[in-house]
Amino acid sequence: MRTHYSAWNLLAAARRDHSDWAPAWREVSEPKRRYDVVIIGGGGHGLATAYYLAKNHGVRNVAILEAGWIGGGNTGRNTTIVRSNYLYPESARLYDFSVKLYERLSRELNYNIMFSQRGIVTLAHSRHDLDAQSRWANAMLCNGIDAELLDARQVRALEPRLNFGPDARHPILGGFIQRRAGPARHDAVAWGYARGASALGVDIIQNCEVTGFVKKGDSIAGVKVRHRGIESEIGCDKAALAVAGHSSVLAGLAGFELPITSYALQAMVSEPVKPVLNAVTLSPAVGAYWSQSDKGEVVMGGALDHFPSYGQRGSFAITQQVVASTMEMFPSLGRLRLLRQWAGIVDVVQDSSPIIGASPLPGLYLNCGWGTGGFKAIPVGGWTLAHVLATGKNHDLAEPFQLDRFLTGRLIDEAGAAGIAH
């Protein structure tokens, strides 16, 4: 069976009609009774954690327990933008490390994740926007991240379909761009990590819901699961939660609360058309952003629903707002029809920064609180969580992002710089 993707193997496999390719990853139907590490959640973060545990730390007796199917939660429900245009040094270091891992990821995993660094433009609609953006771009440059201020002419050259008309409700005075940002292919990120982890011996178990925790003394000793309808227990030394959206539910089962509220974040796509958008564009004035997928769909995203939700649908009030914003900012897209609309449930914390590290239950570790921007952080979320699971010490990058910051007051308030006002 062929496992390595290359031009040579593609040609050679053609002789047998491509019938000898091995499945990308190995599905395990019967979990073992015990693992060194159990990772709850088979999304990008969980899969990346398993991959780096095996790859960087040699910890291979690892299981990923996924209640549904891998990559079917927020990993499959976002707008796939990767960027590191954050304001504060702690966040800049974290997210830029992630962008750098993304830049090498296709080669690292031998799986094309289609990371297209076409740039993200944040528009400026007022003098104040221009001032705020020069500060923002300068902060990025000070943190060693690429950022470039653009005048209106440059924005227009880059994205000519934007509304530069004389009666534009939100006149465009300029903006700034991070050129290394751009979309990647979300399924490929999940499957690439799954394939890499599986090849290193990690067990991927789907349709396996965690229903409780087994404790020995004060520490974790295992998890209770319902796998394909059958209840059982799986023992473990350590476990990790990578279940964005449902972090509070799992934390409740483990007996503690988190500083998280779950909200629905929605996105939508138009019918596919020929290339019309060049970059990713974000307008803070209307709170929406746009890009075009490789299939040709115009991808639109906007604000969170404004009430707590676990319903993966999204409120029509926001759908309407995003569509109206699209009509205003890109008048020539006004006659496109909406093809699909969906929502994911995101973990919102007060300071819009993640939590990567120990939980109140010894042996159980957290990867949560990514808010609306978890996809871009998949590689670094996995890298740093694997580090603390394997070594018992926080990774340097994750040190500022501990749960106890909500008790000490040392918040990293990225709300202003997270790209969009959520």
Binding site: A67, E209, T211, H246, S248, V249, G252, L253, E257, L258, P259, I260, T261, S262, H306, F307, P308, S309, Y310, G311, S315, F316, A317, V349, Q350, F406, L407, T408, G409
Partner: protein, 98 residues
């Protein structure tokens, strides 16, 4: 779009309201520990199922009131006054968390 019942104005679309989050959170004494204060400010149960929350009819009469709402189905089980206690009803038992 959800339709919510304002106690004063009656049934109105969701876009006229603002959600103020979990209702009836007790503020601890001001000389409490940092831990206790942090928990009061940030930590929430965030239930999947019935949630007691406060809303304001911002683009209407401006009144604050409480709701018991299911966070999965968005069904409203009860509307009650901002100073009233959470109604206890057998048939609105909490959805069992998975």
């Amino acid at each position: 779009m959800m339709r919510l019942t304002c106690p004063w104005c009656g049934e109105r679309p969701e876009s006229e309201f603002n959600c103020g989050g979990t209702t009836a959170i007790q503020r601890p004494q001001l000389d409490c520990s940092d831990q206790e204060w942090g928990r009061y400010l940030f930590f929430r149960r965030n239930p999947k199922g019935e949630h007691a929350e406060r809303w304001r009819h911002t683009y209407g009469c401006g009144m604050w009131f409480n709701l018991l709402r299911d966070t999965v189905t968005h069904e409203v089980h009860e509307v009650y006054g901002i100073t009233e206690a959470r109604p206890q009803k057998a048939e609105t038992a909490e959805v069992v968390m998975p």
